[in-house]
């Protein structure tokens, strides 16, 4: 219904601004708006972010890493509103530099108290945040096997 959509929108909008400050740090600006407030049932949703120190005029000019971090902000903002029990992320950290991976992983750690996360990664820092590690190998050519890797923690 229109009402529940509007409430959902308001709650996610607030989360989006909060998480943006954590993931991007500092003084940037962010917002989520409706393209047509008069028609709640059909309106689109638009995202706007301006990284700290910049005067961004157009979201398409964001860098690869900034776009990935913005997507993470949206994902976590929705999660805070209504955590789905399970989340599967495939190399979402590939475009990120070390500083952003650090910020991303610390939020991931928080969110993992509310839901199960599976993340495919090639990055050492992301592996270190995991509670459990699985290795996928093809010792026999063309045949995948999964082995559980015990931590030496």
């Amino acid at each position: 219904t229109a009402e529940s959509f509007y409430d959902t929108f308001q709650s996610i909008k607030k989360n989006f601004k909060d998480i943006f400050k954590i993931l991007f740090g500092g003084e940037g600006r962010s917002d989520i708006t409706l393209t047509d407030e008069g028609d709640i049932l059909n309106t689109g949703v638009e995202i706007f972010v301006q990284p700290p120190g910049k005067r961004l005029q157009n979201m398409t000019l964001l860098s690869g890493g900034e776009k990935a971090m913005t997507a993470a902000v949206l994902l976590f903002a929705m999660f805070l509103h209504k955590p789905s029990p399970f989340c599967f992320l495939d190399e979402i950290d590939a475009p990120l530099d070390d500083a952003n991976i650090g910020r991303f992983c610390s939020i991931l750690k928080d969110m993992s108290k509310k839901a199960q996360f599976v993340i495919i990664t090639h990055n050492q820092k992301t592996m270190e945040v995991a509670d459990q590690l699985y290795g996928v190998t093809m010792q026999e050519p063309g045949v995948s096997k999964v082995i559980s890797v015990k931590f030496e923690n």
């Binding site: 409430d7 997507a71 993470a72 789905s84 992320l89 495939d90 199960q116 599976v118 495919i120 992301t126």
Partner: protein, 168 residues
């Protein structure tokens, strides 16, 4: 609801029965290029009801069945089973269990396609009912494929709205 474990056999590069447990918290999946990591994500999208082979990086549904390798012949059937716990009791009772259910999807080369809940044949809509209101439908933001993270931001306002509908 919690994901307890995934059992894959004959699906893409997982020709032998493979069991993956899902503990609480964060599970990292690592391995060389081409070893089969993203195929696990495809197995999850498939068991959640994905009907379009292109969304599973194939051109037709037969592409999800193990096609063979250097030393193995191709399979004729692909099975994926997902075991869920902490399910809503009334839902579990409907399928004769207490708080755990097992969802299975089977696909044969001859086109035979079947769904099961706790080994009882069912329809896709029964599987969708189990995931109703969890945000895990096929338009879910909770499953982000490789290379698709930037698409989330470049999507049209109408496409972004669909995520909000799923979460409402």
């Amino acid at each position: 609801m919690k994901f307890k474990k995934l059992i894959i056999q004959g699906f893409k590069s997982f020709v032998d029965k493979t069991v993956i447990e899902f503990p609480d918290g964060i599970t990292a999946v690592v391995g060389p290029n081409g070893s089969g990591k993203s195929n696990i994500l495809d197995a999850i999208r498939w068991i959640l009801g994905e009907q379009n082979p292109k969304e599973l990086r194939g051109s037709n549904m037969d592409d999800i069945i193990f096609a063979g390798s250097e030393n193995r012949k191709g399979s004729n059937i692909a099975f994926v089973t997902l075991v869920l716990t902490d399910i809503d009791e009334s839902l579990a009772a409907k399928w004769g269990s207490f708080s755990e259910v097992e969802i299975t999807r089977k696909y044969c080369r001859d086109g035979d396609r079947e769904y099961f809940i706790n080994n009882k044949r069912c329809k896709l809509k029964d599987i969708r009912e189990i995931f109703y209101d969890t945000g895990l439908g096929s338009k879910s933001i909770s499953i982000i494929e490789q290379g698709k993270v930037e698409k989330l931001i470049s999507a049209t306002p109408e496409e972004i709205r669909q995520f909000f509908d799923e979460a409402a």
